[in-house]
Protein backbone atom coordinates (compact mmCIF):
# COMPACT_ATOMS: atom_id res chain seq x y z
CA UNK A 1 0.00 0.00 0.00
CA UNK A 2 2.65 2.47 1.10
CA UNK A 3 5.03 1.63 -1.70
CA UNK A 4 2.18 1.93 -4.16
CA UNK A 5 1.38 5.45 -2.97
CA UNK A 6 5.00 6.40 -3.13
CA UNK A 7 5.14 5.02 -6.66
CA UNK A 8 2.25 7.18 -7.80
CA UNK A 9 3.78 10.21 -6.22
CA UNK A 10 7.11 9.83 -8.00
CA UNK A 11 5.41 9.20 -11.27
CA UNK A 12 3.25 12.26 -10.83
CA UNK A 13 6.30 14.28 -9.83
CA UNK A 14 8.13 13.19 -12.94
CA UNK A 15 5.11 14.15 -15.01
CA UNK A 16 5.05 17.66 -13.61
CA UNK A 17 8.70 18.12 -14.38
CA UNK A 18 8.02 17.24 -17.96
CA UNK A 19 5.16 19.69 -17.87
CA UNK A 20 2.75 17.28 -19.52
CA UNK A 21 -0.89 16.74 -18.62
CA UNK A 22 -2.86 18.98 -16.35
CA UNK A 23 -0.16 20.06 -13.92
CA UNK A 24 0.84 22.96 -16.12
CA UNK A 25 1.99 26.28 -14.80
CA UNK A 26 -0.83 28.74 -14.51
CA UNK A 27 -1.03 31.56 -17.01
CA UNK A 28 -1.92 35.17 -16.39
CA UNK A 29 -5.60 34.67 -17.11
CA UNK A 30 -5.76 31.87 -14.55
CA UNK A 31 -4.25 34.15 -11.93
CA UNK A 32 -6.62 36.96 -12.87
CA UNK A 33 -9.73 34.79 -12.65
CA UNK A 34 -8.62 33.23 -9.37
CA UNK A 35 -7.76 36.61 -7.90
CA UNK A 36 -11.18 37.91 -8.91
CA UNK A 37 -12.90 34.91 -7.35
CA UNK A 38 -10.84 35.20 -4.17
CA UNK A 39 -11.68 38.90 -4.00
CA UNK A 40 -15.37 38.07 -4.37
CA UNK A 41 -15.04 35.54 -1.57
CA UNK A 42 -13.28 37.96 0.75
CA UNK A 43 -15.03 41.22 -0.10
CA UNK A 44 -18.30 40.75 1.85
CA UNK A 45 -16.23 40.00 4.95
CA UNK A 46 -14.02 43.04 4.43
CA UNK A 47 -17.09 45.17 3.87
CA UNK A 48 -18.63 43.83 7.10
CA UNK A 49 -15.65 45.34 8.91
CA UNK A 50 -15.93 48.61 6.95
CA UNK A 51 -19.63 48.93 7.68
CA UNK A 52 -19.02 48.08 11.34
CA UNK A 53 -16.60 51.00 11.58
CA UNK A 54 -19.15 53.54 10.29
CA UNK A 55 -22.48 54.67 11.64
CA UNK A 56 -25.99 53.94 10.51
CA UNK A 57 -26.46 57.36 8.86
CA UNK A 58 -23.42 56.89 6.68
CA UNK A 59 -24.66 53.46 5.62
CA UNK A 60 -27.87 55.11 4.38
CA UNK A 61 -25.99 57.24 1.86
CA UNK A 62 -24.88 56.70 -1.71
CA UNK A 63 -22.22 55.73 -2.66
CA UNK A 64 -21.65 53.16 0.08
CA UNK A 65 -18.44 53.52 2.12
CA UNK A 66 -15.33 51.81 0.77
CA UNK A 67 -12.98 52.60 3.61
CA UNK A 68 -12.94 52.37 7.39
CA UNK A 69 -14.45 55.00 9.67
CA UNK A 70 -13.84 55.69 13.33
CA UNK A 71 -16.79 54.00 15.00
CA UNK A 72 -15.56 50.42 15.19
CA UNK A 73 -14.87 50.32 18.92
CA UNK A 74 -18.13 52.04 19.79
CA UNK A 75 -20.19 49.66 17.64
CA UNK A 76 -18.38 46.58 18.89
CA UNK A 77 -19.02 47.67 22.47
CA UNK A 78 -22.75 48.17 21.85
CA UNK A 79 -23.01 44.81 20.11
CA UNK A 80 -21.04 43.14 22.90
CA UNK A 81 -23.30 44.33 25.72
CA UNK A 82 -26.68 45.35 24.31
CA UNK A 83 -27.02 42.56 21.78
CA UNK A 84 -25.69 39.98 24.23
CA UNK A 85 -22.80 39.11 21.89
CA UNK A 86 -20.38 38.69 24.81
CA UNK A 87 -22.50 35.98 26.42
CA UNK A 88 -23.21 34.54 23.00
CA UNK A 89 -19.53 34.20 22.14
CA UNK A 90 -18.78 32.51 25.46
CA UNK A 91 -21.72 30.13 25.02
CA UNK A 92 -20.73 29.31 21.46
CA UNK A 93 -17.14 28.49 22.39
CA UNK A 94 -18.50 26.20 25.09
CA UNK A 95 -21.05 24.53 22.80
CA UNK A 96 -18.80 24.15 19.76
CA UNK A 97 -15.90 22.93 21.91
CA UNK A 98 -17.98 20.30 23.68
CA UNK A 99 -19.66 19.14 20.48
CA UNK A 100 -16.30 18.89 18.70
CA UNK A 101 -14.69 16.96 21.58
CA UNK A 102 -17.65 14.61 21.92
CA UNK A 103 -17.94 14.00 18.20
CA UNK A 104 -14.22 13.27 17.88
CA UNK A 105 -14.18 10.89 20.85
CA UNK A 106 -17.32 8.92 19.98
CA UNK A 107 -16.53 8.87 16.27
CA UNK A 108 -13.04 7.53 16.88
CA UNK A 109 -14.32 4.75 19.15
CA UNK A 110 -17.10 3.72 16.77
CA UNK A 111 -14.92 4.22 13.70
CA UNK A 112 -12.26 1.95 15.21
CA UNK A 113 -14.83 -0.75 15.96
CA UNK A 114 -16.20 -0.59 12.41
CA UNK A 115 -12.73 -0.53 10.85
CA UNK A 116 -10.89 -3.20 12.80
CA UNK A 117 -13.09 -5.24 15.15
CA UNK A 118 -15.41 -8.12 14.51
CA UNK A 119 -18.91 -8.18 15.96
CA UNK A 120 -22.41 -9.27 15.05
CA UNK A 121 -24.59 -6.98 12.90
CA UNK A 122 -21.49 -4.97 12.01
CA UNK A 123 -22.32 -4.42 8.33
CA UNK A 124 -25.97 -3.76 9.13
CA UNK A 125 -25.03 -1.14 11.72
CA UNK A 126 -22.52 0.46 9.35
CA UNK A 127 -25.23 0.68 6.71
CA UNK A 128 -27.43 2.41 9.29
CA UNK A 129 -24.64 4.94 9.94
CA UNK A 130 -24.28 5.67 6.23
CA UNK A 131 -28.04 5.96 5.79
CA UNK A 132 -28.17 8.37 8.72
CA UNK A 133 -25.76 10.74 6.99
CA UNK A 134 -28.35 11.42 4.30
CA UNK A 135 -31.20 12.29 6.67
CA UNK A 136 -31.07 15.91 7.81
CA UNK A 137 -31.81 16.43 11.52
CA UNK A 138 -34.16 19.29 10.64
CA UNK A 139 -36.88 16.76 9.88
CA UNK A 140 -37.09 15.63 13.49
CA UNK A 141 -37.25 19.08 14.90
CA UNK A 142 -40.82 18.99 16.25
CA UNK A 143 -40.42 15.93 18.51
CA UNK A 144 -36.96 17.16 19.47
CA UNK A 145 -38.54 20.37 20.67
CA UNK A 146 -41.24 18.45 22.54
CA UNK A 147 -38.52 16.34 24.18
CA UNK A 148 -36.49 19.38 25.20
CA UNK A 149 -39.61 21.14 26.51
CA UNK A 150 -40.52 18.03 28.51
CA UNK A 151 -37.06 18.06 30.11
CA UNK A 152 -37.33 21.84 30.74
CA UNK A 153 -34.15 22.34 28.72
CA UNK A 154 -35.42 25.17 26.53
CA UNK A 155 -32.96 28.04 26.55
CA UNK A 156 -30.29 25.90 28.20
CA UNK A 157 -27.08 24.98 26.43
CA UNK A 158 -27.46 21.22 26.81
CA UNK A 159 -30.46 21.52 24.50
CA UNK A 160 -28.13 22.34 21.61
CA UNK A 161 -25.14 20.27 22.75
CA UNK A 162 -26.65 16.84 23.33
CA UNK A 163 -28.54 16.41 20.01
CA UNK A 164 -25.38 17.20 18.02
CA UNK A 165 -22.88 15.35 20.18
CA UNK A 166 -22.51 12.45 17.76
CA UNK A 167 -22.21 12.53 14.00
CA UNK A 168 -22.70 9.80 11.44
CA UNK A 169 -20.32 11.57 9.11
CA UNK A 170 -17.70 11.54 11.86
CA UNK A 171 -18.03 7.80 12.42
CA UNK A 172 -17.77 7.12 8.70
CA UNK A 173 -14.84 9.52 8.33
CA UNK A 174 -12.88 7.90 11.18
CA UNK A 175 -13.66 4.43 9.91
CA UNK A 176 -12.36 5.24 6.42
CA UNK A 177 -9.21 6.71 7.92
CA UNK A 178 -8.50 3.90 10.38
CA UNK A 179 -9.05 1.14 7.83
CA UNK A 180 -5.90 2.40 6.10
CA UNK A 181 -3.91 4.15 8.78
CA UNK A 182 -4.07 1.56 11.57
CA UNK A 183 -2.13 -1.65 10.86
CA UNK A 184 -4.07 -4.66 12.11
CA UNK A 185 -0.77 -6.29 13.18
CA UNK A 186 -0.25 -3.49 15.66
CA UNK A 187 -3.53 -4.31 17.38
CA UNK A 188 -2.77 -8.02 17.33
CA UNK A 189 0.67 -7.44 18.82
CA UNK A 190 -0.86 -5.44 21.64
CA UNK A 191 -3.46 -8.18 22.18
CA UNK A 192 -0.77 -10.87 22.36
CA UNK A 193 0.90 -8.81 25.05
CA UNK A 194 -2.36 -9.09 26.96
CA UNK A 195 -3.61 -5.54 26.48
CA UNK A 196 -7.28 -4.97 27.07
CA UNK A 197 -9.43 -3.30 24.42
CA UNK A 198 -9.36 0.03 26.26
CA UNK A 199 -5.58 -0.12 26.43
CA UNK A 200 -5.46 -0.81 22.71
CA UNK A 201 -7.66 2.23 22.12
CA UNK A 202 -5.55 4.44 24.33
CA UNK A 203 -2.08 3.34 23.26
CA UNK A 204 -2.60 2.21 19.65
CA UNK A 205 -5.79 3.65 18.14
CA UNK A 206 -5.68 7.21 19.46
CA UNK A 207 -2.06 7.83 18.41
CA UNK A 208 -2.72 6.41 14.95
CA UNK A 209 -5.94 8.38 14.55
CA UNK A 210 -4.59 11.71 15.75
CA UNK A 211 -4.34 13.51 12.35
CA UNK A 212 -7.89 12.54 11.38
CA UNK A 213 -9.14 13.42 14.87
CA UNK A 214 -7.67 16.91 14.50
CA UNK A 215 -9.32 17.38 11.11
CA UNK A 216 -12.68 16.08 12.30
CA UNK A 217 -12.45 18.26 15.38
CA UNK A 218 -11.86 21.41 13.34
CA UNK A 219 -14.61 20.67 10.83
CA UNK A 220 -17.08 19.84 13.60
CA UNK A 221 -16.15 23.00 15.47
CA UNK A 222 -16.89 25.13 12.41
CA UNK A 223 -20.21 23.37 11.80
CA UNK A 224 -21.25 23.61 15.45
CA UNK A 225 -20.26 27.28 15.59
CA UNK A 226 -22.46 28.01 12.56
CA UNK A 227 -25.34 25.70 13.48
CA UNK A 228 -28.51 27.68 12.89
CA UNK A 229 -31.91 26.03 12.66
CA UNK A 230 -32.05 24.13 15.92
CA UNK A 231 -30.44 26.82 18.15
CA UNK A 232 -32.96 29.36 16.81
CA UNK A 233 -35.73 27.12 18.06
CA UNK A 234 -34.18 25.94 21.32
CA UNK A 235 -32.58 29.16 22.60
CA UNK A 236 -33.61 32.81 22.97
CA UNK A 237 -31.88 36.12 22.43
CA UNK A 238 -32.06 37.22 26.05
CA UNK A 239 -31.52 33.86 27.73
CA UNK A 240 -28.43 31.92 26.75
CA UNK A 241 -28.03 32.56 23.03
CA UNK A 242 -25.31 31.23 20.77
CA UNK A 243 -23.72 33.66 18.34
CA UNK A 244 -26.16 32.69 15.59
CA UNK A 245 -29.18 33.26 17.84
CA UNK A 246 -27.87 36.68 18.89
CA UNK A 247 -27.17 37.60 15.27
CA UNK A 248 -30.67 36.53 14.26
CA UNK A 249 -32.03 38.78 16.99
CA UNK A 250 -29.97 41.62 15.55
CA UNK A 251 -31.11 40.88 12.01
CA UNK A 252 -34.75 40.84 13.06
CA UNK A 253 -34.56 44.34 14.39
CA UNK A 254 -33.50 43.83 17.99
CA UNK A 255 -31.22 46.87 17.62
CA UNK A 256 -32.14 48.84 14.50
CA UNK A 257 -28.67 50.24 13.91
CA UNK A 258 -27.06 48.85 10.75
CA UNK A 259 -23.49 49.55 11.82
CA UNK A 260 -24.05 47.77 15.14
CA UNK A 261 -25.60 44.84 13.28
CA UNK A 262 -22.45 44.64 11.15
CA UNK A 263 -20.31 44.89 14.30
CA UNK A 264 -22.22 41.91 15.68
CA UNK A 265 -21.71 39.96 12.46
CA UNK A 266 -18.01 40.79 12.64
CA UNK A 267 -17.75 39.62 16.26
CA UNK A 268 -19.51 36.39 15.41
CA UNK A 269 -17.27 35.63 12.43
CA UNK A 270 -13.88 36.88 13.58
CA UNK A 271 -12.96 33.92 15.84
CA UNK A 272 -13.49 31.43 13.02
CA UNK A 273 -11.66 33.67 10.55
CA UNK A 274 -8.69 33.84 12.90
CA UNK A 275 -8.77 30.07 13.17
CA UNK A 276 -8.80 29.91 9.37
CA UNK A 277 -5.76 32.17 9.14
CA UNK A 278 -3.88 29.96 11.63
CA UNK A 279 -5.13 26.48 10.69
CA UNK A 280 -6.31 27.22 7.14
CA UNK A 281 -3.88 24.79 5.58
CA UNK A 282 -5.08 21.94 7.80
CA UNK A 283 -8.76 22.74 7.30
CA UNK A 284 -8.28 22.81 3.53
CA UNK A 285 -6.39 19.53 3.75
CA UNK A 286 -9.12 18.05 5.91
CA UNK A 287 -11.91 18.94 3.53
CA UNK A 288 -9.90 17.60 0.61
CA UNK A 289 -9.00 14.26 2.24
CA UNK A 290 -12.56 13.90 3.49
CA UNK A 291 -13.78 14.44 -0.03
CA UNK A 292 -11.59 11.77 -1.60
CA UNK A 293 -12.55 9.18 0.99
CA UNK A 294 -16.21 10.14 1.34
Amino acid sequence: MTSETRGTRTRRGAGTRRGAGLQRHAGRITYAVLALFAAGSLFPLLWTAIAASRNTTRLAQTPPPFWFGGNLVRNLRIAWTDANMGTALFNTVLVAGTVAAGTVLFSTLAGFAFAKLRFRFKSLLLLLVIGTMMVPPQLGVVPLYMLIAELSWTDRLQAVVLPTLVSAFGVFFMRQYLVQALPTELIEAARVDGASSWRVVWHVVFPAARPAMAVLGMLTFVLAWNDFFWPIIALTQNGSPTVQVALTGLGRGYIPDQSVIMAGALLGTLPLLLAFVIFGKHIVGGIMTGAVKG
Binding site: A26, P136, M146, F228, G294
Partner: protein
Protein backbone atom coordinates in the same frame (compact mmCIF):
# COMPACT_ATOMS: atom_id res chain seq x y z
CA UNK B 1 -20.08 16.02 29.13
CA UNK B 2 -17.45 14.93 26.68
CA UNK B 3 -14.77 15.75 29.23
CA UNK B 4 -16.30 13.28 31.64
CA UNK B 5 -16.49 10.62 28.98
CA UNK B 6 -12.88 11.20 28.04
CA UNK B 7 -11.82 10.85 31.68
CA UNK B 8 -13.64 7.57 31.81
CA UNK B 9 -11.67 6.18 28.89
CA UNK B 10 -8.51 7.49 30.42
CA UNK B 11 -9.28 5.83 33.72
CA UNK B 12 -10.19 2.48 32.24
CA UNK B 13 -6.70 1.39 31.11
CA UNK B 14 -5.02 2.29 34.38
CA UNK B 15 -7.64 0.33 36.29
CA UNK B 16 -6.87 -2.57 34.02
CA UNK B 17 -3.21 -2.08 34.80
CA UNK B 18 -3.87 -2.61 38.47
CA UNK B 19 -5.94 -5.63 37.62
CA UNK B 20 -3.26 -7.29 35.53
CA UNK B 21 -0.61 -6.36 38.06
CA UNK B 22 -2.34 -8.68 40.51
CA UNK B 23 -2.31 -11.60 38.11
CA UNK B 24 1.35 -12.74 38.17
CA UNK B 25 1.77 -15.79 40.36
CA UNK B 26 2.52 -15.05 44.03
CA UNK B 27 5.82 -16.27 45.47
CA UNK B 28 5.97 -20.07 45.54
CA UNK B 29 7.03 -20.21 49.21
CA UNK B 30 3.42 -20.11 50.35
CA UNK B 31 2.23 -23.44 49.02
CA UNK B 32 3.55 -26.65 47.52
CA UNK B 33 4.33 -26.94 43.81
CA UNK B 34 1.03 -28.66 43.25
CA UNK B 35 -1.14 -25.88 44.73
CA UNK B 36 0.78 -23.24 42.90
CA UNK B 37 0.21 -24.89 39.55
CA UNK B 38 -3.50 -25.15 40.28
CA UNK B 39 -3.67 -21.50 41.20
CA UNK B 40 -1.73 -20.52 38.06
CA UNK B 41 -4.07 -22.58 35.99
CA UNK B 42 -7.12 -20.99 37.54
CA UNK B 43 -5.70 -17.52 37.08
CA UNK B 44 -4.79 -18.19 33.49
CA UNK B 45 -8.26 -19.52 32.92
CA UNK B 46 -9.77 -16.41 34.50
CA UNK B 47 -7.60 -14.18 32.40
CA UNK B 48 -8.51 -16.05 29.24
CA UNK B 49 -12.20 -15.83 30.06
CA UNK B 50 -11.89 -12.14 30.78
CA UNK B 51 -9.95 -11.64 27.57
CA UNK B 52 -12.63 -13.45 25.57
CA UNK B 53 -15.36 -11.41 27.17
CA UNK B 54 -13.42 -8.22 26.47
CA UNK B 55 -12.96 -9.19 22.82
CA UNK B 56 -16.58 -10.07 22.48
CA UNK B 57 -18.25 -7.10 24.14
CA UNK B 58 -15.92 -4.12 23.76
CA UNK B 59 -16.91 -3.50 20.10
CA UNK B 60 -20.45 -2.93 21.29
CA UNK B 61 -19.21 -0.58 23.99
CA UNK B 62 -17.33 1.41 21.35
CA UNK B 63 -20.31 1.89 19.04
CA UNK B 64 -22.83 2.25 21.89
CA UNK B 65 -22.43 6.01 22.53
CA UNK B 66 -23.07 6.83 18.90
CA UNK B 67 -26.14 4.65 18.59
CA UNK B 68 -27.48 5.71 21.97
CA UNK B 69 -27.37 9.40 21.11
CA UNK B 70 -28.55 8.69 17.59
CA UNK B 71 -31.55 6.72 18.86
CA UNK B 72 -32.62 9.39 21.35
CA UNK B 73 -31.91 12.57 19.35
CA UNK B 74 -32.03 11.30 15.77
CA UNK B 75 -34.15 8.23 15.11
CA UNK B 76 -36.84 8.77 17.73
CA UNK B 77 -37.60 12.37 16.66
CA UNK B 78 -37.70 11.34 13.02
CA UNK B 79 -40.21 8.53 13.59
CA UNK B 80 -42.21 10.51 16.11
CA UNK B 81 -42.55 13.28 13.52
CA UNK B 82 -44.66 10.85 11.53
CA UNK B 83 -46.82 10.13 14.58
CA UNK B 84 -47.17 13.82 15.47
CA UNK B 85 -48.15 14.67 11.89
CA UNK B 86 -51.31 12.59 12.42
CA UNK B 87 -52.35 14.74 15.38
CA UNK B 88 -53.42 18.24 16.21
CA UNK B 89 -50.63 19.45 18.52
CA UNK B 90 -50.20 23.02 19.63
CA UNK B 91 -46.94 24.48 20.84
CA UNK B 92 -48.70 25.88 23.89
CA UNK B 93 -49.52 22.40 25.23
CA UNK B 94 -47.41 19.78 23.44
CA UNK B 95 -48.76 16.98 25.64
CA UNK B 96 -52.30 17.48 24.31
CA UNK B 97 -52.41 15.39 21.15
CA UNK B 98 -55.68 15.00 19.32
CA UNK B 99 -55.90 12.36 16.58
CA UNK B 100 -56.80 13.85 13.19
CA UNK B 101 -55.63 11.09 10.87
CA UNK B 102 -54.38 12.45 7.58
CA UNK B 103 -56.06 15.81 8.23
CA UNK B 104 -52.81 17.73 8.37
CA UNK B 105 -51.73 16.28 5.05
CA UNK B 106 -54.99 16.88 3.19
CA UNK B 107 -54.87 20.42 4.57
CA UNK B 108 -51.37 20.83 3.15
CA UNK B 109 -52.50 19.67 -0.28
CA UNK B 110 -55.11 22.42 -0.29
CA UNK B 111 -52.72 25.00 1.18
CA UNK B 112 -51.53 27.58 -1.35
CA UNK B 113 -48.68 28.63 0.91
CA UNK B 114 -47.37 25.07 0.94
CA UNK B 115 -47.31 24.82 -2.85
CA UNK B 116 -45.79 28.29 -3.03
CA UNK B 117 -43.07 27.25 -0.58
CA UNK B 118 -42.45 24.04 -2.50
CA UNK B 119 -42.12 25.94 -5.76
CA UNK B 120 -39.82 28.54 -4.19
CA UNK B 121 -37.65 25.78 -2.71
CA UNK B 122 -37.25 24.17 -6.11
CA UNK B 123 -36.54 27.47 -7.89
CA UNK B 124 -34.07 28.73 -5.30
CA UNK B 125 -32.56 25.24 -5.18
CA UNK B 126 -31.89 25.29 -8.92
CA UNK B 127 -30.74 28.92 -8.92
CA UNK B 128 -28.23 28.17 -6.19
CA UNK B 129 -27.08 24.61 -6.91
CA UNK B 130 -26.49 24.76 -10.65
CA UNK B 131 -24.28 27.89 -10.81
CA UNK B 132 -22.57 26.87 -7.58
CA UNK B 133 -21.40 23.52 -8.92
CA UNK B 134 -20.52 24.82 -12.38
CA UNK B 135 -18.42 27.68 -11.01
CA UNK B 136 -16.85 25.31 -8.48
CA UNK B 137 -15.83 22.99 -11.30
CA UNK B 138 -14.18 25.84 -13.19
CA UNK B 139 -12.39 27.19 -10.13
CA UNK B 140 -11.16 23.70 -9.25
CA UNK B 141 -9.76 23.32 -12.74
CA UNK B 142 -7.84 26.58 -12.31
CA UNK B 143 -6.66 25.67 -8.80
CA UNK B 144 -5.31 22.43 -10.25
CA UNK B 145 -2.69 24.31 -12.25
CA UNK B 146 0.74 24.79 -10.73
CA UNK B 147 0.20 28.04 -8.87
CA UNK B 148 2.24 30.39 -6.80
CA UNK B 149 0.48 30.97 -3.50
CA UNK B 150 -1.90 28.10 -4.16
CA UNK B 151 -2.54 27.71 -0.42
CA UNK B 152 -3.57 31.37 -0.21
CA UNK B 153 -6.14 30.88 -2.96
CA UNK B 154 -7.45 27.69 -1.35
CA UNK B 155 -7.90 29.31 2.05
CA UNK B 156 -9.39 32.44 0.46
CA UNK B 157 -12.06 30.57 -1.47
CA UNK B 158 -12.93 28.66 1.70
CA UNK B 159 -13.45 31.71 3.96
CA UNK B 160 -17.15 32.07 3.06
CA UNK B 161 -17.55 28.54 4.43
CA UNK B 162 -16.34 29.85 7.79
CA UNK B 163 -18.95 32.61 7.70
CA UNK B 164 -22.24 31.67 9.29
CA UNK B 165 -25.58 31.87 7.52
CA UNK B 166 -26.57 34.68 9.86
CA UNK B 167 -23.47 36.84 9.39
CA UNK B 168 -23.44 36.30 5.62
CA UNK B 169 -27.13 37.08 5.17
CA UNK B 170 -26.92 40.24 7.29
CA UNK B 171 -24.16 41.59 5.07
CA UNK B 172 -25.91 40.64 1.86
CA UNK B 173 -29.12 42.32 3.02
CA UNK B 174 -27.15 45.58 3.09
CA UNK B 175 -25.34 44.87 -0.18
CA UNK B 176 -28.68 44.12 -1.85
CA UNK B 177 -30.35 47.18 -0.31
CA UNK B 178 -32.70 48.96 -2.69
CA UNK B 179 -31.74 52.57 -1.96
CA UNK B 180 -28.16 52.50 -0.76
CA UNK B 181 -26.91 48.98 -1.43
CA UNK B 182 -23.61 48.49 -3.16
CA UNK B 183 -25.03 46.21 -5.84
CA UNK B 184 -27.62 48.74 -6.97
CA UNK B 185 -24.94 51.43 -6.82
CA UNK B 186 -22.79 49.33 -9.17
CA UNK B 187 -25.76 48.72 -11.47
CA UNK B 188 -26.41 52.45 -11.44
CA UNK B 189 -22.85 53.15 -12.57
CA UNK B 190 -23.41 50.73 -15.42
CA UNK B 191 -26.54 52.62 -16.37
CA UNK B 192 -29.22 50.34 -14.94
CA UNK B 193 -32.17 51.33 -12.78
CA UNK B 194 -32.19 50.39 -9.10
CA UNK B 195 -33.62 46.93 -8.49
CA UNK B 196 -35.97 46.24 -5.58
CA UNK B 197 -34.24 42.99 -4.72
CA UNK B 198 -36.32 42.13 -1.70
CA UNK B 199 -39.82 42.71 -3.04
CA UNK B 200 -39.61 41.19 -6.48
CA UNK B 201 -40.20 37.44 -6.82
CA UNK B 202 -37.33 36.62 -9.16
CA UNK B 203 -34.99 39.23 -7.76
CA UNK B 204 -35.45 38.10 -4.16
CA UNK B 205 -34.98 34.45 -5.10
CA UNK B 206 -31.87 35.38 -7.06
CA UNK B 207 -30.53 37.34 -4.10
CA UNK B 208 -31.16 34.49 -1.65
CA UNK B 209 -29.51 32.09 -4.09
CA UNK B 210 -26.51 34.41 -4.36
CA UNK B 211 -25.90 34.07 -0.62
CA UNK B 212 -25.94 30.28 -0.93
CA UNK B 213 -23.64 30.36 -3.95
CA UNK B 214 -21.24 32.70 -2.15
CA UNK B 215 -21.03 30.47 0.91
CA UNK B 216 -20.63 27.08 -0.78
CA UNK B 217 -18.87 27.47 -4.13
CA UNK B 218 -15.33 27.50 -2.70
CA UNK B 219 -16.05 24.47 -0.55
CA UNK B 220 -17.27 22.49 -3.54
CA UNK B 221 -14.31 23.71 -5.59
CA UNK B 222 -11.95 22.17 -3.03
CA UNK B 223 -13.84 18.89 -3.16
CA UNK B 224 -13.54 18.83 -6.95
CA UNK B 225 -9.89 19.80 -6.70
CA UNK B 226 -9.21 16.86 -4.38
CA UNK B 227 -10.90 14.52 -6.82
CA UNK B 228 -8.97 16.00 -9.77
CA UNK B 229 -5.69 15.45 -7.98
CA UNK B 230 -6.43 11.78 -7.49
CA UNK B 231 -6.94 11.18 -11.23
CA UNK B 232 -4.04 9.01 -12.42
CA UNK B 233 -1.60 11.07 -14.41
CA UNK B 234 -1.18 8.43 -17.12
CA UNK B 235 -4.69 9.12 -18.33
CA UNK B 236 -3.69 12.64 -19.30
CA UNK B 237 -0.42 11.48 -20.78
CA UNK B 238 -2.06 8.96 -23.07
CA UNK B 239 -4.74 11.48 -24.00
CA UNK B 240 -2.02 13.99 -24.87
CA UNK B 241 -0.24 11.34 -26.94
CA UNK B 242 -3.49 10.79 -28.81
CA UNK B 243 -3.41 14.49 -29.63
CA UNK B 244 -6.24 15.57 -27.32
CA UNK B 245 -6.43 19.31 -26.72
CA UNK B 246 -6.81 20.78 -23.25
CA UNK B 247 -10.53 21.08 -23.74
CA UNK B 248 -10.82 17.52 -24.96
CA UNK B 249 -8.74 16.33 -22.01
CA UNK B 250 -11.12 18.13 -19.67
CA UNK B 251 -14.18 16.67 -21.39
CA UNK B 252 -12.92 13.12 -21.90
CA UNK B 253 -10.58 12.56 -18.95
CA UNK B 254 -11.41 14.98 -16.14
CA UNK B 255 -15.19 14.99 -16.28
CA UNK B 256 -15.69 11.20 -16.51
CA UNK B 257 -13.26 10.65 -13.64
CA UNK B 258 -15.13 13.21 -11.55
CA UNK B 259 -18.53 11.65 -12.09
CA UNK B 260 -18.86 10.04 -8.64
CA UNK B 261 -17.70 13.26 -6.97
CA UNK B 262 -20.09 15.37 -9.03
CA UNK B 263 -22.91 13.05 -8.09
CA UNK B 264 -21.90 13.31 -4.43
CA UNK B 265 -21.85 17.13 -4.46
CA UNK B 266 -25.19 17.18 -6.31
CA UNK B 267 -26.77 15.06 -3.60
CA UNK B 268 -25.28 17.08 -0.75
CA UNK B 269 -26.26 20.41 -2.34
CA UNK B 270 -29.77 19.20 -3.09
CA UNK B 271 -30.25 18.05 0.50
CA UNK B 272 -29.00 21.45 1.64
CA UNK B 273 -31.29 23.26 -0.79
CA UNK B 274 -34.32 21.27 0.39
CA UNK B 275 -33.75 22.49 3.93
CA UNK B 276 -32.86 26.08 3.10
CA UNK B 277 -33.94 28.19 6.07
CA UNK B 278 -31.54 30.76 7.49
CA UNK B 279 -31.00 32.82 4.34
CA UNK B 280 -34.69 33.42 3.56
CA UNK B 281 -35.48 33.99 7.25
CA UNK B 282 -32.93 36.75 7.67
CA UNK B 283 -33.27 38.18 4.18
CA UNK B 284 -36.70 39.31 5.34
CA UNK B 285 -35.15 41.62 7.95
CA UNK B 286 -37.41 42.11 10.94
CA UNK B 287 -40.55 41.01 9.13
CA UNK B 288 -40.63 37.47 10.50
CA UNK B 289 -40.79 34.06 8.88
CA UNK B 290 -43.13 34.93 6.03
CA UNK B 291 -40.36 34.99 3.42
CA UNK B 292 -41.25 38.42 2.06
CA UNK B 293 -44.43 40.47 2.04
CA UNK B 294 -45.90 38.18 -0.59
CA UNK B 295 -44.19 34.97 0.63
CA UNK B 296 -42.10 35.33 -2.50
CA UNK B 297 -39.02 33.66 -1.04
CA UNK B 298 -40.56 31.47 1.64
CA UNK B 299 -39.01 27.99 1.48
CA UNK B 300 -40.34 24.75 2.92
CA UNK B 301 -37.94 24.97 5.86
CA UNK B 302 -39.15 28.47 6.59
CA UNK B 303 -42.80 27.46 6.22
CA UNK B 304 -42.22 24.58 8.65
CA UNK B 305 -40.79 27.06 11.15
CA UNK B 306 -43.64 29.52 10.62
CA UNK B 307 -46.31 26.87 11.14
CA UNK B 308 -44.60 25.41 14.20
CA UNK B 309 -43.07 28.34 16.04
CA UNK B 310 -45.00 31.38 14.82
CA UNK B 311 -48.48 29.90 14.34
CA UNK B 312 -47.83 27.27 17.04
CA UNK B 313 -49.22 24.31 15.05
CA UNK B 314 -46.71 21.56 15.72
CA UNK B 315 -48.86 18.89 14.04
CA UNK B 316 -48.94 20.80 10.77
CA UNK B 317 -45.22 21.50 11.05
CA UNK B 318 -44.66 17.74 11.37
CA UNK B 319 -46.67 17.12 8.22
CA UNK B 320 -44.43 19.60 6.36
CA UNK B 321 -41.36 17.84 7.75
CA UNK B 322 -42.66 14.52 6.47
CA UNK B 323 -43.34 15.93 3.04
CA UNK B 324 -39.74 17.18 3.00
CA UNK B 325 -38.60 13.71 4.00
CA UNK B 326 -40.59 12.30 1.08
CA UNK B 327 -38.87 14.72 -1.31
CA UNK B 328 -35.49 13.64 0.03
CA UNK B 329 -36.42 9.98 -0.45
CA UNK B 330 -37.28 10.72 -4.08
CA UNK B 331 -33.96 12.53 -4.51
CA UNK B 332 -32.20 9.55 -2.90
CA UNK B 333 -33.94 7.12 -5.25
CA UNK B 334 -33.08 9.18 -8.32
CA UNK B 335 -29.50 9.41 -7.14
CA UNK B 336 -29.36 5.66 -6.66
CA UNK B 337 -30.71 5.03 -10.15
CA UNK B 338 -28.26 7.48 -11.71
CA UNK B 339 -25.34 5.98 -9.77
CA UNK B 340 -26.30 2.47 -10.89
CA UNK B 341 -26.57 3.58 -14.48
CA UNK B 342 -23.15 5.26 -14.30
CA UNK B 343 -21.59 2.14 -12.83
CA UNK B 344 -23.08 0.00 -15.60
CA UNK B 345 -21.94 2.29 -18.38
CA UNK B 346 -18.36 2.48 -17.14
Amino acid sequence: MAGVARDATAAAPSEREDGTAAYPAPPGARGGDHGREGRDERERERRRRWHRRDLRWSPYAFVAPFFLFFAVFGLFPLLYTGWASLHRVELTSPDDMEWVGLGNFSRLLRDDFFWNALQNTVTIGLLSTVPQLLIALGIAQLLNYRLRGSMFFRVAVLTPYATSVAAATLVFVLLFGRDHGMINWGLGLAGFDAVDWQNGTWTSQLAVSTIVVWRWTGYNALIYLAAMQSIPHELYESAALDGASRRQQFLHVTLPSLRPTILFTCVVSTIGATQLFGEPLLFNGGAGATGGSDHQFQTLGLYLYEQGWVNLHLGRASAIAWSMFLILLIIGAVNWLVARRLRRSS
